[in-house]
């Protein structure tokens, strides 16, 4: 891949990708750019706002109509709903694991098949999260199985 950096007078930074087709390499570049640009705005208990990159997020869950975002070190809240999180960061590995949880597939250490078609995910933090019967087939599809 040829990389060119041009310095010119522009109101804001601009990235243009030129390719005959969106192949694996270009999709990787796009994903990298998006992960850098699409930061997730969250706040902690003391109402301090932070911008997280999607790859920092382990999983998100709803509790009493509030959406909590868990990283390896801390827990935050976000204004986005689980559906929005899934649609916005789905391409970066966010996956709906149940009615009340979205998990980052890149932060899963291992998966285990469970009775009645469910899947148990062990996260990088050691926590376990159950992918419900409804969402397990979608996970299999996502993993190319």
């Amino acid at each position: 891949m040829k990389i060119t950096v041009e310095h010119m007078n522009l109101p804001e930074n601009e990235v243009i990708l030129r390719c005959p087709a969106l192949d694996e390499e270009m999709l990787g570049v796009l994903s990298l750019l998006r992960s850098g640009l699409q930061r997730l705005c969250v706040w902690d208990d003391s109402r301090r706002t932070t911008l997280l990159t999607p790859d920092e997020v382990i999983y998100c869950e709803t509790v009493d109509d509030r959406v909590f975002v868990y990283t390896g070190q801390a827990m935050y809240q976000t204004a986005l709903g689980l559906g929005e999180l899934e649609s916005r960061y789905g391409g970066l590995g966010f996956f709906r694991a149940g009615k009340s949880a979205v998990v980052n597939l890149h932060q899963i250490r291992s998966l285990a098949s469970r009775e009645a078609g469910r899947i148990e995910a062990t996260l990088e933090t050691g926590e376990k999260l159950m992918v419900s019967r409804r969402y397990a087939p979608l996970l299999r599809e996502r993993l190319g199985l």
């Binding site: 990787g28 994903s31 597939l105 890149h106 998966l111 285990a112 009775e115 993993l143 190319g144």
Partner: protein
């Protein structure tokens, strides 16, 4: 309607389990009868077997409701195995399902029962293990690709 739907789903689940045990019971009854020189099976015995299988299927459904991880519940598995022996060995002995069968033949049937019960759990364990391996392979591929 909700209650009916739940009852209906319970019925479907129980019926499937009952059918599985009943076919095994009829197979062994037929085999033993054939080996003892008889080519018929009494309807009353078949009905008794059907009822015994239904009772055991009900107990099994109560012990392992749909959606529960059967392999992770050691105590329930032990209760299930004891109940299976009590129902099938008890009925076979008490209701004379295999008349004329020598003692060694009866012991052999009990041994088959134990092997069948073990095989059921082994099949579940094996299925889970292979599925888990495939899931993790898919996960690694996905994580590597991104």
């Amino acid at each position: 309607m909700e209650y009916f739907n739940r009852f209906y789903l319970w019925g479907v689940n129980t019926k499937y389990r009952m059918g599985l045990y009943f076919s095994a019971a009829v197979f062994f009854k037929g085999l033993v009868n054939a080996l003892l020189g008889s080519r018929t099976v009494e309807i009353l015995t078949l009905l008794e077997m059907l009822l015994a299988c239904f009772a055991f299927a009900c107990l099994e459904t109560a012990l392992f409701p749909a959606g529960q991880n059967m392999l992770s519940q050691g105590k329930r598995i032990a209760v299930w195995a004891i109940l299976a022996n009590a129902v099938f060995v008890g009925c076979a002995w008490g209701l004379h399902w295999f008349p004329g069968l020598p003692l060694w033949g009866g012991l052999l049937l009990v041994l088959f029962l134990e092997c069948a019960l073990g095989a059921m759990w082994y099949a579940l364990w094996l299925k889970e293990r292979l599925d888990t391996a495939a899931l993790n392979q898919g996960l690694r591929r996905f994580q590597k690709r991104a």
